[in-house]
């Protein structure tokens, strides 16, 4: 016990306002600000967003850069490996236009064929410019994926929200339908649909969405049901908040989270399925290109001209990885339960 001298004056009473201590000093962030803060902390997600942005820009402008059309054939210039000015002089980079024969010899394909032009990423077996085809293919793959994801989202959200909000018999009936649909592997449905519809951008999209929306519908319904019974929603209702306000203030932000997360997982899934279909011979027909058809074409000549498969393989892998990383990051950011 210390017995230092404390001035008498210090022992005069002060008026305390207890309500002051109830003030919350931390600035309150809304749901989205908070989520953005969390995404920003996730370096993988941020890098992925940047890479995706670059890939999307290239998918739009890339096909017009070299001046070669994506379907232009030049059989004299076929199967040329990548060659890029300046970079061709750096020996460890694969941009010198050299190919390796089966016996291990290397030769410059451009010299052998007397080609002066530079094909940055080489040409395929019909002499088409791979750089142009790559970005055209990326464009088509992304287009299919975004379209499929958007359709999934619209159907799924509507179905799930109606099922959840209306409840009762309607919900019961709608649930039985989704249960049957979920029991059918979508691989089977997609393949059958493509066989019936014949491959094309639209038919592939339709095939992907025909059962694709079920996942979204289930998630949305579950979320709606959960939110409906949530105590803070009951509390808001008890306090006399109108239905519109409840939907706007409580349901939409919470639903938006699961919808965004789910969509972010749908996109890479659609990209995968498109490529998969191409690979088993149900993809777009030539001269159209998608990442899937490029990989399929490249696989056929993999042993002789590996770059023809490796280039589109890198792009599709990058897209898939980045979308998955962003989706994971968003899930961690938007799902408050996962917070530490």
């Amino acid at each position: 016990m210390e017995n230092e001298k404390i001035p008498q004056e210090m022992f005069s009473p002060v008026e305390m306002d207890a309500t002051k201590s109830e003030q919350i000093s931390k600035p309150s962030l809304n749901y989205w600000q908070d989520a953005w803060l969390r995404v920003r902390k996730n370096k993988g997600a941020i890098v992925s967003i940047i890479i995706l942005a670059i890939l999307i820009i290239m998918a739009i402008v890339g096909p017009n850069i070299t001046g070669h059309g994506y379907a232009d054939q030049n059989l004299k210039h076929n199967n040329l490996p990548p060659r890029i000015p300046v970079l061709e002089n750096i020996s460890w980079l694969p941009f010198d236009g050299e190919l390796t024969r089966k016996n291990g010899d290397t030769y410059n394909a451009y010299k052998v064929k007397h080609v002066d032009e530079y094909y940055w990423l080489g040409t395929d077996s019909l002499g088409r410019d791979i750089f142009t085809r790559l970005w055209k293919g990326t464009q088509v793959s992304l287009y299919i994926a975004f379209l499929a994801a958007a359709i999934d989202m619209i159907i799924g959200v509507l179905y799930g929200a109606i099922s959840g909000f209306v409840g009762g018999r309607t919900d019961n009936f709608m649930q039985r339908i989704t249960e049957i649909l979920i029991g059918i592997p979508n691989l089977v449905v997609v393949i059958l649909m493509i066989i019936v519809l014949k491959p094309g951008i639209l038919s592939i999209t339709i095939a992907l969405t025909i059962t694709g929306w079920v996942g979204m519908a289930r998630v949305v319904r579950a979320q709606v049901l959960k939110l409906k019974s949530q105590e803070y929603v009951l509390a808001a209702r008890t306090l006399g908040l109108s239905n519109g306000k409840i939907i706007g203030k409580h349901l939409v932000p919470n639903l938006a989270g699961v919808i965004i997360i789910n969509t972010m997982f749908t996109i890479p899934n659609a990209i995968f399925f498109e490529a998969f279909l191409s690979f088993i011979g149900l993809g777009l027909q030539p001269p159209h290109a998608s990442l899937g058809t490029l990989i399929d074409d490249g696989f056929k000549v993999l042993q002789l001209y590996p770059y023809q498969m490796i280039i589109p393989a890198i792009v599709i892998s990058l897209i898939m990885i980045c979308f998955n990383m962003v989706a994971d990051g968003l899930r961690d950011a938007l799902d408050p339960k996962m917070r530490d």
């Binding site: 993999l302 498969m309 990885i321 979308f323």
Partner: protein
């Protein structure tokens, strides 16, 4: 419990019936003839062919025949190979596919679980990041890309493994790894999340309070509880195996169902497509049922409550 199982089996049969019907009618509305080299056949030849395969009958009759045969296990006759039954083709190519699938799921889940557990125990260390990295790659890179690249680099370039075909155990290594990547990644991610959650639970704190060692806590207390929910992703994993088998059997030239299926697609061999589709659907439905029942076996809470369902 018995009642629950019966009910589930009835549902399963209804689903399969719907899929079979759906498949049949889809095949009926496909334009064009199913015969290879159809252009070279004369009108009469076509008519004979059609009669032979019963394509002349009214659609309801064909449907009834198809369903009846289906119940008997007869999936019709392949157009591609004269007079070879679809069932026969499937049975013949089932072995390699089953072996490949089995090896992949065993390899994938075991390594996935190990990776997931390590990542959870060493959270936020390089072990965790490494495991997450492998998981993201495994989940993201399409299996055919992975398989193609492995085949080229490990098979062709380095010559460590046979490049293709199915002639002995060493031939199964590359396809198994390629097919196992997705199950491995999925299991790793899932186990990590579950394990972290379990490790934070009250009963783990109590186990620590009892003086249990790190090893006992991780493997005697946490792992079992973390593994129970993993059973729920077995369904999607089996689907991934079916999807993967199509492309991987094609890449490595494995004489399995997947390769047969891809070939049939290319030559419009509808009976084989239909038969394989049904087989995939049936496998899927059965796996889902097994998963649900398995869940009860592993989790004592459900095992005992199950009787009341």
């Amino acid at each position: 419990m018995a009642k629950y199982v019966t009910q589930r089996i009835i549902y399963m049969i209804i689903t399969l019936f719907l899929i079979a019907s759906f498949t049949f009618f889809l095949m009926k509305i496909i334009p064009g003839t199913p015969f290879t080299k159809a252009d070279k056949l004369s009108e009469t030849q076509l008519a004979i062919m059609k009669e032979k395969y019963g394509l002349d009958d009214p659609v309801p009759v064909q449907y009834a025949n198809y369903m009846m045969n289906l119940v008997k296990g007869d999936l019709g006759v392949s157009f591609q190979f004269d007079n070879v039954g679809v069932t026969e083709i499937i049975v013949k190519s089932f072995g390699p596919s089953a072996q490949l699938g089995f090896q992949a799921i065993i390899f994938g889940t075991i390594f996935g679980i190990i990776l997931g557990v390590l990542a959870a125990l060493k959270q936020n260390t390089w072990v965790d990041y490494g495991s997450t990295f492998i998981a993201v790659l495994g989940k993201s890179i399409p299996s055919f890309v992975f398989a193609g690249l492995m085949q080229y680099y490990l098979g062709v370039k380095l010559g460590w493994f046979p490049v293709a075909f199915w002639r002995g155990p060493e031939y199964t290594i590359l396809p198994t790894i390629a097919l196992a990547m997705f199950p491995l990644a999925t299991a790793a991610r899932f186990v990590r999340t579950e394990m972290i959650e379990v490790l934070e639970s009250d009963y783990i704190v109590l186990a620590k309070a009892k003086g249990a060692s790190w090893f006992d806590i991780a493997f005697k207390h946490a792992l079992r509880n973390a593994l129970i929910p993993v059973v729920t992703v077995l369904g999607p994993l089996v689907v991934s195996l079916m999807t993967g088998s199509l492309v991987i059997e094609k890449i490595f030239g494995i004489p399995g169902i997947g390769e047969q299926f891809v070939k049939s697609i290319q030559v419009n061999d509808y009976p084989v497509i239909m038969g394989t589709t049904l087989l995939f659907a049936a496998l899927f439905v059965v796996v889902i049922l097994i998963v649900d029942l398995l869940y009860g076996v592993i989790d004592p809470r459900i095992r005992l409550a199950g009787g009341k369902k």
